[in-house]
């Protein structure tokens, strides 16, 4: 475009010269003026084109659900600090996230940076979709393993290689009705399994038949795995290539929980509880193991004279040697696409989101709990009575087996057999035997891959 315009200017000048025969000083001044203007316009055009090409990079960032909706508000500050980088945020609904990310990878359209539930990290690393970050972390002054909760950091590590940086964290703690527990003689929440059982028995004695002390839904695998981990069960064996749910430890933990349902200390059917908060408000349920996303819901529903009747507490342990007992290391991580062409900028953005200040801002926006420990010194987190249980719990969290098949194992199989045993169609031994059988079929591919790679 530029050369075309120049040529036109030349032509015009030539014409003028030809027609006038001599150089009219006024005209030549005019043409000099217009040439100046043209030159100015052209140089602006040229510069702006150039700037886009050389110093302006646009990185794409995919985030899920609420994060996707609100993270945009954190972007302007980053763009101010890094004038050359623009961030394009795209929101992906959680339900479609995995599918979208896998297809984006398959069509080589992965975003430069994206959010991954930390249980998905093994899957995307198996795909070869995400960058191994060790060298980036070594160079970084912001991201450093020491700054994170140990159990959470570990969920992103596969064979000493780090694939994701924790962005926000969650874990499971106990939500409970303070007044109902106090009436049963428990002024502080149960700290051991025995106390949990005893407490439930005592609450049940005070309740009408159709209300329950605790909620252990069979369509939530987390409590079963947590109690298994507390009982020191090894969930998979032989380098996570075979199921190990028939172990004494896991069967013990599993039957301990199922027993609550069998003794009618917990409701059998999940469909009876459409609104867990409502159920808490009317003392239909009084204890529930769940995550931080429920804090605000509880605040919303437990209003008026119920407002101070609920509390959160770290999880009880199998024995009284250590409190709290272990819980799940959940949350989301930030990962970088292996095929990104803008890794420098992408890493800068990850670093920015990992600064304590921005972590606190994210908490203020959508209540995501900071992964960086330093951020917890902020008064808004430190002084929150409901968050204290979470902070204590994060000191003792553990990752679930880090294999791509894990989600299928717990969601489709463990929950299924939990329901079968709770309803009495299978005994615990039968269920765990079938469970191991199914798991071994699921892991067949993994065994083959490992064997092939070792050759």
């Amino acid at each position: 475009m530029k050369s075309l315009l120049l040529r036109r200017v030349k032509q015009l000048n030539q014409k003028k010269f030809l027609h006038s025969g001599f150089v009219n000083p006024l005209k030549s001044v005019l043409s000099a003026k217009s040439a100046c203007i043209l030159f100015f316009i052209l140089s602006v055009l040229f510069l702006s084109c150039n700037q886009k090409k050389d110093s302006q990079t646009e990185i794409s960032f995919w985030a899920m659900g609420a994060e996707g909706e609100f993270v945009q508000k954190l972007v302007p500050e980053f763009e101010k600090q890094n004038p050359g980088i623009k961030v394009k945020v795209q929101m992906v609904p959680w339900t479609a996230a995995q599918e979208k990310l896998v297809t984006a990878y398959a069509s080589e359209n992965s975003p430069d940076v994206y959010q991954l539930g930390n249980t998905w990290v093994p899957q995307f690393s198996a795909l070869g979709a995400i960058e191994e970050l060790n060298s980036w972390i070594q160079k970084s002054s912001i991201v450093n393993q020491e700054k994170y909760f140990e159990g959470i950091w570990d969920t992103n590590v596969l064979d000493n290689e780090v694939f994701g940086i924790p962005w926000y964290v969650d874990t499971r703690v106990m939500f409970y009705r303070k007044d109902v527990l106090a009436k049963a003689g428990y002024n502080s929440p149960p700290k051991t399994w025995d106390e949990l059982y005893d407490c439930s028995k005592k609450i049940k004695a005070n309740l009408p038949v159709d209300k329950y002390p605790i909620y252990i839904p069979t369509n939530e695998w987390a409590p079963f795995v947590i109690f298994g981990l507390q009982a020191k069960a090894k969930l998979l064996k032989n380098n996570a290539t075979y199921g190990n749910f028939q172990s004494k430890e896991f069967e013990f933990a599993f039957s301990f929980l199922i027993n609550f349902i069998k003794e009618k200390l917990a409701p059998m059917s999940v469909s009876q509880v459409t609104n867990i908060y409502q159920a808490f408000a009317e003392e239909y349920l009084n204890m529930y193991i769940s995550g931080p996303w429920n804090i605000n819901e509880f605040k919303k529903w437990m209003k008026g004279n119920l407002a101070d009747k609920w509390m959160t507490a770290p999880l009880p342990n199998i024995s009284n040697e250590k409190y709290p007992g272990v819980s799940l290391a959940g949350g989301s991580s930030l990962v970088m696409s292996k095929h990104s062409k803008k890794k420098e900028s992408a890493w800068k953005f990850i670093e920015y989101l990992s600064t304590p200040k921005v972590q606190v801002e994210l908490f203020h926006l959508i209540n995501d709990l900071p992964a960086v420990k330093e951020a917890w010194n902020d008064p808004s987190l430190k002084d929150d009575i409901y968050l204290k249980a979470f902070y204590d719990q994060f000191q003792n969290v553990q990752a679930t087996p880090k294999i791509p098949e894990w989600e299928q194992i717990v969601f489709s199989k463990l929950q299924q057999y939990a329901e079968y045993t709770a309803r009495g169609t299978m005994s615990v031994e039968e269920a765990m035997k079938a469970m191991d059988g199914d798991v071994n079929i699921i892991l067949e591919k993994r065994r083959w891959m490992i064997e092939r790679n070792s050759k």
Partner: protein
Amino acid sequence: MKNNNLKALIIFLGPAMLAIFVFFFIPVISAFVISFTDFDIYSLGNFSNARFIGLRNYTQLFEDPLFWTALQNTLFFVILAGPLSVCVSLFAAMLLNAKLVKFKGIFRLSYFMPVVTTLIAVAIVWRFIYHPRFGLLNYLLGFFHVNPVDWLGDPFWAMPAIVLMSVWKNFGYNMIIFIAGLNNIPSDLYEAATIEGASWWQQFRSITLPMLVPTTLFISIITMIGYFQLFAEPYIMTQGGPLNKTLSIVQYMYQEGFRWWNMGYSAAIAFVLFFIIFLGTVIQTFIQKKLKHA
């Protein structure tokens, strides 16, 4: 002349054939090939991680208790909901076609409304109707001193509850087709029958039903195919539970394919389902042909 014909053929049929080939045959054939591999999440990243495993997906499928549960549930649904749906549609169509009925438009509209309503909205309403503690259905049954039933949570009642909701949601569509079929029956047949002194029931059996055979054939095949592909209703209402009693084949296929990325296994399920529906259609056509000639 012959050459011209060929040209015309290519021009007229070519685009459609190309579209069918690209969007139908290629996907179906590749799915068929995939059903003989163990294509999964590992293979998406790297094709060399997929193995050709012959018929193993199919043999594994026939040993998979969950597949048999899903098949059983789907058959139960088709056998219960299919005929029920056709009968209800026919009944509604005849009511609307009766000469005594006024405001036909309003009734037709209100019966057809569930068909065009989003399933999500319908499911939310029905979840409330079925709610064990606050539900309308249990409230009504309470007047007859029936103990509250946990409709969607009870392994015995969950599928019938899904059937009831699906029939309610779908009968309007078939009803419209039946109304068209009823209007096509010449009225002199009924006049002649009335003069001969035939009762209403005799007229129904000897005129209405035989004249409706083609319509019924069409409707029952379409309904059966649709019901074999049962997915959205249990997916939203029960997620396949309780005790997998509402897990349908398509839902199982979806889970295996798009939740756990076992594409090979999922493709095998798809072809088994295809074969079952094909078989069902053949049997139905055969029966109806017999009926027509009898």
